[in-house]
Amino acid sequence: MIEVEHLSKTYGSTAAIADVSFSVETGEILGFLGPNGAGKTTTMRILSGYLPASSGTARIAGLDIHENSMAVRQRIGYLPENPPLYPEMSVEGFLFFVARIKQVPAGDRARRVTSAIDRCGLVEKRKVLIRKLSKGFKQRVGIAQAIVHDPPVIILDEPTVGLDPRQIIEVRNLIKSLGGQHTIILSTHILPEVSMTCNRVTIINRGQIVAAGSPENLTGELAASSGYELEVEGEEELLNSLLLPSVENLPGVRSIELIPNQESLAGRYRLRALCERDIEPGREIAAAILASGFGLCEMRRNRATLEDVFLKLTTAEKKQGDVLIETEPEVAKNLEVAEIPAIISDSEPVSETIVETENAIELSESASEPVAEKVESLYDSQPESEPIAETEESIIAHPQLESEPIAEREESIIEHSQLESEPVLEREESIIEHSQLESEPVAEREESIIEHSQPESEPIAEREESIIEHSQPESEPIAEREESIIEHSQPESEPIAEREESIIEHSQPESEPVAEREESIIEHPQLESQPIAETLKSIGDVEPELQPVADFLELVEKQELIDYSQPESVVETEQSLEYSQPESEPVVINRQTKKRQQPISDASPEEPPVTKKRQIERKQQPRDDSEIPPAGDAE
């Protein structure tokens, strides 16, 4: 359908694209991937007939784009990066105009326009002026404009840029539904978009095609370099003499090496093991490490994603790399964060951790504003039952996280959720395991932290104040965020219903804890008034990757699973929450959802984290009672 041969385009002395050749079969969706400025738009403009090529030929439906320019243009639907719309026209009027200039026969126009409006979901906007449409609708009109004359070939230049996650999903679905009947070229720099919508991928960098094939093939090529990333703890002498050789000799391990210059604690080393294709010797590696007398603090499997392929092929390109690479250290940071409990379970003295914690607090004070920002934007993403040490430690990681706008972050969340949903689950499990290990030490430490902090009264008072100040506006950003993710208010309440139900189900087998847990649900909001609880809460906003993924998936994708016949429990929960803490309702709701998150995301209801949490609550209970009446009284 589309054949491109040795296409080049030069502007003056610089080559925008050089010797680009590819072909697309009828009905395929080709993802055109590349960093900004790689030549995607230039290629598409040439194909659409907007720009002439400097050399080379391109044929669409067997027609040369230069010689039969008019005929080719008639067979192409083209959506430029900025949808070309006349703001003063109505949606319908505009589509009629486009149908007319694309030479749709007069008798067909009404039918074609109606069909395009229907496909793009613009039925209720057909008489609205384009000027008054939101960005998402404008994008849809842009797509409708590209399909209104039913072209065999559709060229879409970054169709999802600047849309919110929901709109992105909508547009992707639309594109997918267009495939098969139409041949589509889709350019983007959002990688999951390609793996989700496209049959084939062409990666272009600096004007040249660097890879082509199906998404599976491309990732398969890199599978050879898959392996594990490890963090071990032990003595340095033994590392080179004992550990590395013993692991390297394992079957399936191709090589293992020390990753230099990694910021990790003393006595810890990060290793990278490369494995043979299709062999996963994770178990053996772990056994070998333990057999060498080392502690295994972290083990993560690296799987090649399209992202890796892209980065590998376009490493020279800094501009794009920044965005993509940044997510990696972030993940690593979070993983480091998640390991901290392991120290404790390795029976290290508790006091050390506390010293660290205090450092962390100082850090957070010195950099109080960025942290506060972080807290606001990420608050709802925090599982309440996380180990305390972990959350406190994570303050250090906070300033290092880049403060992307929320929308971007959400995008990246989607990416992550789709690319590496398994690692996330793994990680969640590992956290739960950690927390199982150290349920008692946490409680101990909790107390000791309080003791420690009492002598130096002034700084702490300051800190408490600042934290409280920061935590008050928290409800707004979260509300905003929730709105942006889900425009309707339904999902806000319904996931709760669902989880409420599941909790009840889970808790039925064990009869005693039910009462306790329900208490804790009601009493929980009280904790917020307590400075330390406050601290814990606000500190607990790490793991930007982990929880938002689950949250977001819950909210966006599980809508259809929601049982509508559970109004009672919802009302109950919401009432009790409102009474106890009317101001920060969204926060509390989030907390509830989070609390339930883990039993759901795990296959089996994991009791231990909850147990641990209850212990913490109990510890704080006496102090609460003295200050604030329980929620039941308020009612």
Binding site: A61, M70, A71, R100, V123, N173
Partner: protein, 297 residues
């Protein structure tokens, strides 16, 4: 309508099956008809956007206000045409006889012509600059349209809008002239107003070309105004220069050619001159859009 369960996004509707792409699409046996239908499509779109544009209405309002004032001033103000002639009659001067209706038409058309020069750049400034700014030029350039068709359609559209702006004034004129005896010869009326339209078409055509050179509507308006002013005063310069070169320059003057027509003189050279300006403008516009696409970075 059936909806995707996840996103509530409407799925393809079975009532409107998308037929498999129909290709090859038979090329029309009448390319001229296709061209005309394209021109009409662009023309309708242009007209629609003018009649929906508040800017266009503001321009029209100013135009009506000021030309309306001149109309009244010419006729009834103390130093206007009719009081002056009445005074002349009182003083007993009857030679040479004065055709009041003709004089009035001359004066009024000249004033309208001059004033249009200020208004026309404002009408033509957005013709291509807006398209460039919004990126809709990309839509037009990737549609099976020739640049000629687009430029012609646009010119016709804006000219129609200008003509519509003239209509209320023509009504006033008709009222004023209806009382004249003998009536003004229709040829004079036709030539005068035809000249006004031709003048406007020339200016708009050149303005369209300038508009195609830039993304900025303001810049386009200013440049157009400067160019028009230059062509307006070129006959003064021509007189200064003298000789064959001077007379050649004088032929280029918009004012000279316009005055010829307004006088009721059927001067084919004036008609050809205006036609040349119009075609030159359309041609340059088409070329400039082509050049724009070739050099775009």
């Amino acid at each position: 309508m059936n909806e995707c369960p996840i996103t509530n996004f409407p799925m393809p509707d079975s009532r409107f099956p998308i037929p498999n792409a129909r290709f090859p699409i038979p090329d029309s046996p009448f390319p001229m008809l296709v061209m005309i239908s394209n021109i009409i499509a662009i023309y309708r779109k242009e007209l629609q956007s003018y009649f929906l544009s508040p800017l266009a209405y503001a321009i029209a309002a100013v135009f009506w206000l000021i030309t309306g004032y001149f109309l009244i001033a010419i006729l009834v103000f103390p130093d206007g045409l009719i009081p002056a002639i009445a005074q002349r009659d009182q003083m007993g001067i009857t030679e040479p006889p004065i055709d009041v209706a003709y004089e009035f038409l001359q004066l009024f058309l000249r004033i309208m012509g001059s004033f249009s020069l200020f208004i026309l750049p404002a009408l033509s400034m957005g013709l291509y600059a807006e398209e460039r700014k919004r990126g809709t030029l990309e839509l037009l350039a990737t549609s099976p349209l020739t640049n000629w068709a687009v430029a012609t359609g646009k010119l016709l559209g804006v000219l129609t809008f200008y003509t519509t702006m003239l209509l209320p004034l023509l009504a006033c004129e008709a009222i004023a002239l209806s009382s004249s005896t003998p009536p003004v010869p229709p040829a004079v009326l036709l030539l005068g107003h035809g000249g006004l339209i031709l003048l406007a078409a020339s200016v708009l055509s050149l303005g369209m070309f300038i508009s195609s050179l830039t993304d900025s509507t303001i810049l386009s308006a200013i440049l157009t105004f400067a160019l028009v002013l230059f062509l307006w005063v070129i006959d003064a310069a021509a007189v200064g220069i003298g000789g064959p070169f001077g007379s050649a320059l004088a032929q280029l003057s918009l004012l000279t050619n316009y005055t010829n027509l307004v006088k009721g003189v059927f001067d084919s050279s004036s008609l050809i001159m205006f036609a040349s300006y119009i075609i030159l403008g359309v041609f340059l516009t088409a070329q400039s859009i082509d050049a724009l696409r070739y050099q775009r970075s």
